[in-house]
Subunit: 321 residues, 2 copies
Amino acid sequence: MFGGRSMMIGVDLGGTNIKAGAIFNSGKVLYKISKDTNPKRDKSQIIQDIIIIIEDIIKNTTNDINTIQSIGIGVPGVVQKGTGNILNCPNLNWHNVDLGDILKRHFMREIFIENDASLAGLAESVFGSTKGYKNSVFITLGTGIGAGIIIDGKIYSGSHGVGSEIGHMIVGENFYDCNCGRNGCLETFASATALIKYSQKRIDEGFIETELIHNYKDLDAKMIFDFAYKGDRLANEVLDRFYKYLTIGILSIYDILDPDAIAIGGGVSKAGDKLIERLKHEVSSRVFIKSIKYGEITLASLGNDAGIIGAAILGEIMKSH
Amino acid sequence: MFGGRSMMIGVDLGGTNIKAGAIFNSGKVLYKISKDTNPKRDKSQIIQDIIIIIEDIIKNTTNDINTIQSIGIGVPGVVQKGTGNILNCPNLNWHNVDLGDILKRHFMREIFIENDASLAGLAESVFGSTKGYKNSVFITLGTGIGAGIIIDGKIYSGSHGVGSEIGHMIVGENFYDCNCGRNGCLETFASATALIKYSQKRIDEGFIETELIHNYKDLDAKMIFDFAYKGDRLANEVLDRFYKYLTIGILSIYDILDPDAIAIGGGVSKAGDKLIERLKHEVSSRVFIKSIKYGEITLASLGNDAGIIGAAILGEIMKSH
């Protein structure tokens, strides 16, 4: 696998942008395109854009679809196994969209489609931070929390395609409900949104000795980390809570999946090594069996390209198993 | 697999009994032996008993070890992959015991060793309640909570053998700590022990209008279920709490593993269909994506024999993958 010189194409369909690129066997993205998703458009227009982007990449690289080893697409939602059709994609308001069928008819070949976080996890496990590990979990801490589970070198998405929704594990009771309608999802404690909401709540409650108060309306995760390092009491309280619940989430992943490694990506992971060091410290002091080595915790390394790379290589990974 | 007429032997090493039996391809246990474990003895004596039991089964069945297709052992702890040595087994106070090596030297062949709950899950998936499903989770609600995860027809125990510890997922904050040293483990909310401890706590706090008060010192799970069905207010409060947290645990299993089915076994599962019906109701109203079919929730069907059966077939399952 990845031994030949043929090219693979990956498309990362997001709520904001459609990003795509060509990769060769090194895993490097060599030709990259990005276009606004404009998600309020009719889905047929978005699908048409995906087709145009793929055709553009072919034209500007090998100019022959038969030399393309694999074409894959990552979507921010739940994909039906086998068909590549989309069951549910909240950011695009897509429900039961036959994306796989449409693309297959157009290109006269199979187009591999998967959840975007699963594909980022796959890319990390082939070319990135969890390379060489059989079992790994990729967690992306952004506006929400996404995750990809790799078992035995393959994406594991469960029997109905709804596995690896680690952001919706219930890890406590929270002061606001999750978008999914439940209370206590990890996403409501450890996403960027969660950091902001809890900061605002504490200010609303009267916590005023904090620099965060001056940025009440445009708080972001970076700001909270930066002020915490400067000693801001509220920012530190917010991060203490973030680490507490992210630790609980990781401990549950250890207890269920016991992976070789857990990679942390997404916007919040820009806090970098300090985040990883504190997480390692909190997790290692609370593992179930102290005498046993647990999975490594590490920063994801492929950044925004992970989704494109994972989509591009999906077909090859599936063929090789 | 299981096509021939050869016999398999399974041993279920528990903290109270060593149970063992011979099974043929039907999955039925045909020759069964049980002996007190007497766990305070030196481990060499317990291992000697395991050897005697296996030899006794051979003598009383085919009388020829070469006709035995497979010999397996389930242990209540963490087993090292590859060697079958025991890393940690709290009920027996065994740490780093080279059980696999000792038995291999004695019988001059590989003896397959795995965690007991994983083996019960395997047995359920081959002959019992989750038969025919690729991905399933078996949860045993007893003094503690054990679990077995079957992925793609095989036991999944993680990269270090400590996966499937579903009883130690943190699902809330509790009034007492878990034996593992952490707070909030599922086991402290949804095991038989948890039901008893919470009943006693509420009585200690002054809840006196309950029949449970007359059995304060010898409460058990069955009693709590029975009184709840008779309308006892405290028993119902205790069960409400039990269902609340067991539901959270199952939702997290759905969100991570999304299995085809979850089977509930162990002493608490004697509450039977009523337990399953209520659990199904609570879980289905709170799943992450309402429009998608999630895994079936069902009662385990093999009872106490599951451990013996799973141990007996382990070798064949491993060879067939």
